[in-house]
């Protein structure tokens, strides 16, 4: 046991929970004190046990007994809705990886510090984590009238949860392009591609600046800075090509459109590298945890 590491728990033992476990095991500030699910026979529980991680098959009850400060919820929106009030009551900070959207929407590179004093944050969607930083990077230099993202993921990396709730993906993401990214209007599109070998997660952002006269150099610099910042916690996050400045017909007339093509290669901690969509979620969750712990400690020192 690492001395001084903050005790955290993961609830949900599927692909996301397991990948997050692998990432958190590499953390110096956090220690996974409980990996909880509801099925004692699940593969995830068996794997965690093999790694010597304390496990529980009592779901949230197991987590509440483990004396932890932070819980990462990788279950489902329905389950998180019932977990959230009990975690809050127990004074545990909840990092929600489901689409439950109880706490504020958070993208670590954009607005994390605004919400660390709360009790619950939501990580939006994988496509949101990938594109909202770029929306913000463009918007801070050239306020955006409209931002549109297209997320293309390998079919193999879309589990039943995604497949049965694709409307929730587009709705949540388009809302967050505005709310967190800062664009006046937003739209999200998701495409599944079954190619074999599987494609890496790709995200394309189309943005229409309010003012057609844009400072291209400033835009590019702002995007580069943001890519660098995100890649600090998502190492496989990169620009596919330099941003393209295009012109297209829009309801506001013929306008300048900035097209940014992004690629996310997963770290391969548990899930294969093509599943960058899952990797960016677990990496973002990990970053929220790291920062929360840091702020808690600095807060303590300051007090």
């Amino acid at each position: 046991m690492t001395t001084g590491a903050t005790r955290v728990a993961i609830i949900g033992t599927g692909n996301i929970g397991t990948d997050l476990l692998m990432k958190l095991r590499g953390s110096e500030t956090m220690e996974v004190a409980c990996f909880a699910g509801i099925d004692p026979a699940s593969e995830g529980i068996a794997r965690a046990k093999d790694l010597g991680v304390p496990v529980s098959s009592d779901g949230l009850d197991g987590v509440l007994e483990a004396d932890v400060k932070v819980v990462f919820d990788a279950t489902s929106a329905g389950a998180h809705r019932s977990h959230a009030p009990r975690l809050e009551q127990a004074g545990i900070f909840a990092v929600d990886l489901t689409p439950a959207h109880i706490g504020p929407l958070v993208v670590p590179a954009v607005n994390l510090d605004e919400h660390l004093s709360g009790t619950n944050v939501n990580l939006i969607t994988c496509g949101g984590q990938a594109t909202i930083p770029i929306v913000h990077a463009l918007d801070r230099v050239a306020p955006l009238k409209y931002a549109e993202m297209v997320s293309t993921i390998a079919s193999l990396s879309a589990g039943p949860g995604t497949r049965q709730n694709i409307d929730e993906f587009t709705r949540t993401t388009s809302g967050a392009l505005q709310q967190v990214g800062g664009a006046a209007a937003g739209k999200a599109i998701m495409v599944l591609n079954p190619a074999d070998p599987p494609i890496l997660m790709g995200n394309t952002l189309f943005a229409v600046p309010e003012d057609p006269a844009i400072d291209e150099e400033a835009l590019r610099a702002s995007v580069d800075r943001m890519v660098e910042q995100v890649s600090r916690y998502v190492p496989g996050y990169r620009l596919k090509v330099e941003p393209v400045i295009d012109r297209q017909w829009t309801p506001w007339g013929e306008r300048t459109v900035v097209i940014v093509l992004l690629q996310v290669e997963g770290a391969g901690d548990f899930l294969p590298p093509y599943a960058g969509n899952l990797d960016i979620m677990t990496a973002a969750a990990c970053q929220v945890g790291e920062r929360w712990v840091q702020v808690q400690r600095e807060g303590l020192v300051a007090a």
Partner: protein, 344 residues
Amino acid sequence: MSSRIRITDTTLRDGSHPMRHAYTVQQVEDVVRALDGTGVSLIEVTHGDGLGGSSLQYGMSHVPELELIERAVAVSESTDIGVLLLPGVGTRRDLKAAADLGVKAVRIATHCTEADISQQHFAAAQELGLEPIGFLMMSHMIEPAQLAEQAALMAGYGATCVYIVDSAGALVPAGVRDRVAALAEVVPEVAFHGHNNLGLAVGNTIAAVEAGATRIDGCLRGLGAGAGNAATELLAAVLHQSGIDTGFDVFGLSDAAEQVVQPFMPFQPFPDRESLALGFAGVYSTFLLHAKRHSERLGIDPRDVLVELGRRKAVAGQEDWIVDVAGEIAAAQAADLATGASAS
């Protein structure tokens, strides 16, 4: 062979691609009036990429699609109006808005291997009282047995009918027949939607009918993506010549094609060299105009872009890959030129 063949006319949806999503209220009203009473059973009116398709990725609608749908419903006296929905692009909320305007059917479209993303949309269609029809795009990419498995999923979600959609215009008649035969085992009704990239839209559709498909798609004057679709007026005439008593008004449809659609068409879709490349490389027909635009911007041959997209197995809706592929090809050609220059 069934004697009752139903045609859905999709001039006002697939035709939205060559029209660059700029249909006017007047054009929509004129087309609906011209089709009404000709025997066509459903008129599809939506952005080319379905409800909610108005986007920078696919092209923005000049007139909001709900306004066009509303007018179509208003002027049609006897023909039902339908819409297209691609899960991942449009949502159940968009479907509800269309249903509130009085549309009667929805075609729910997924890539041919991804039927299971459509379950919530089939459920919503049924709740809204719409006829739910399945639409398996890029059907040439998988074998008949695998396609039938996906069709069976849609039938399980409530589809009354499932379309084999040859989005790339890449199928030949034998491939169409095999797919119809495979689907006939598992769905209540089999349907076919063809593109003319290899000059086979009408031929493939007739092959589908001969193999047992009972619903088919057409566009007046073939106005659709790529080299266009089977021309509705030709389908009506060819069915008649095939001895199938369908009751279509062949001359009424050919008048509609000639007098209503032809005057506003920006060009006549045809299997020219780029469209032929779509069929040849098995690429989504809608990519055509986007590939041409970006190739022109970068001074490269659009066929190179289309062939590379086919090699990467791009699926419906991946227009953003065109920007990427075109950029890479242009960069590679510039690098070749530079190497050539320094060597000489």
